[in-house]
Symmetry: C2
Subunit: 281 residues, 2 copies
């Protein structure tokens, strides 16, 4: 990490905050500048040791060798459209967005040719958002997907991989479109399923709360995630998520039909298949 | 608990085993007889301290003051049809089945008038089954539903409530039909949803495993439950589970339609509602 003097983090929340904290904890001795619109939150981030200084002014980006975009996905896209003029020649940019196809294509379309962008998605987080809930070891032991395409600079890709490895993550590389399709199934779909399950529970019985076991609680935990963040992810990856939901509806209907008709054999077969898959993961 | 000299547990698995272990750990000094068909497993249960003796012969039931039926739901029903002749006059029976309407009506229909039955459902467990995975504090801090109907003996009900409280559980009382409707929504539905979600995941990509985050793992954990047990529960409560799945499909389709049409406002509204409900639980 010694090749960077100044790191800028745009959006110092759960992911951005962890990035700064981890860098500083791992011995990074340069400047870590938090950039955002809310000065109060930036102050908290500084007090928590996530950044060494902060600014609400994008001009400071001109001093950064490494820029980490960690705002919600939709803002990453508009940032990429607008920050070009502020950036220093040779700067390396990466992001923490959980969808990649649109972000990577926006970066290639709008960023100046003298900076380098590599899409990243650290697969970690929490149903909580905000710097208050972050921690310096959020990326430790986690997977980080990097998503080069044919226009990605090889050296920049290598540097971003090194960076995530230095923060304790296992790095896997895949095309942006493959990433978004896989993530729709492994990460986005469960959020909408958990929300639908929560919405479908019988809510009006006084005994309901007492009867909610660990199974229900685990299965719906992520329904408490930030609605705006997930609505934005849904829009950024709507075709893949809609397809995943379609496949999920098909499987649910198969199970429902087996329950309704009392088809014990089919039920055992489907549940056994699910058990085998679940245990293989 | 001192009013019982001899306790019989039919089915010494996760729930039955925990029942015996908890009794003995709480200072019960009488006999705890494990009854089952598999002598090898009964030996394990004895070695683990879940029972003090065992038998594969139902005649031993004639010595029990308290009988706990802890086999899978479907076997509880056939046990209730058949064990009448073996039982001692005045014996108190309860069970650990997770559906109650059919069990309670079977008990009333088949048990002799000189024994007492009260349906119970300790709302606890694990995706693992078998005495190997049990522990003496399984009921500690858990909720146990008891399900009297108009024919239930008041004193027997009081004794079963005392028993579960002695094992550390919070007891709530409700009619069998209400129990089954609520449980379809809070416990059974999540199992079929978790199974459907597991079955719908994109399975053939080499990077799939690396991309499965905590959200997916939590949401599908119970898909690793015992298929036979859950197929039997589905049959024992099929109308309620099928209705719950219907309501769940409706909510999922609502979310899918909002995703597909990119209706940000509707998505935020639905996800916010889910978040509010989840956090209130």
């Amino acid at each position: 990490m010694k090749s960077y003097n100044t790191v800028a983090i745009i959006g110092v929340g759960l992911i951005g905050g962890a990035f700064g904290m981890a860098l500083l904890k791992k011995g990074f001795t340069g400047r870590v500048i938090g950039i955002g619109r809310n000065e109060k939150r930036l102050k908290v981030a500084k007090r928590m040791g996530a950044i060494t200084e902060y600014s609400t002014d994008y001009w400071i980006l001109g001093e950064a060798d490494l820029v980490f975009l960690a705002t919600p996905v939709i803002h990453i896209e508009s940032l990429l459209e607008g920050i070009g003029p502020y950036l220093k020649a040779g700067a390396l940019l990466t992001d923490g967005g959980s969808t990649k196809e649109k972000i990577v294509s926006t970066a290639h379309k709008f960023l100046p040719p003298y900076v380098f962008f590599v899409g990243s998605h650290p697969v970690t987080g929490s149903e909580k958002s905000g710097v208050h809930f972050t921690k310096s070891d959020l990326f430790e032991g986690a997977v980080c997907a990097v998503t080069p395409d044919k226009t990605t600079d090889k050296k920049a890709l290598g540097n971003v991989i090194k960076l995530w490895k230095a923060l304790g993550s296992t790095v896997i590389s895949m095309k942006p479109a493959v990433h978004d399709k896989l993530l729709a199934s492994t990460s986005h779909l469960p959020h909408f399923v958990a929300a639908a399950l929560t919405l479908s529970v019988v809510r009006k019985d006084k005994n309901l709360r007492a009867l909610l076991g660990k199974g229900f609680k685990d299965t719906t935990r992520i329904a408490a995630s930030n609605p705006e963040v997930w609505a934005q992810i849904a829009l950024a990856n709507k075709k893949n998520i809609s397809n995943s939901l379609q496949e999920f509806l098909k499987q649910t209907k198969k199970l429902q039909s087996a329950v309704r008709t009392g088809n014990m054999r089919k039920l055992v077969r489907l549940l056994s298949e699910a058990k085998t898959v679940r245990e293989s993961l």
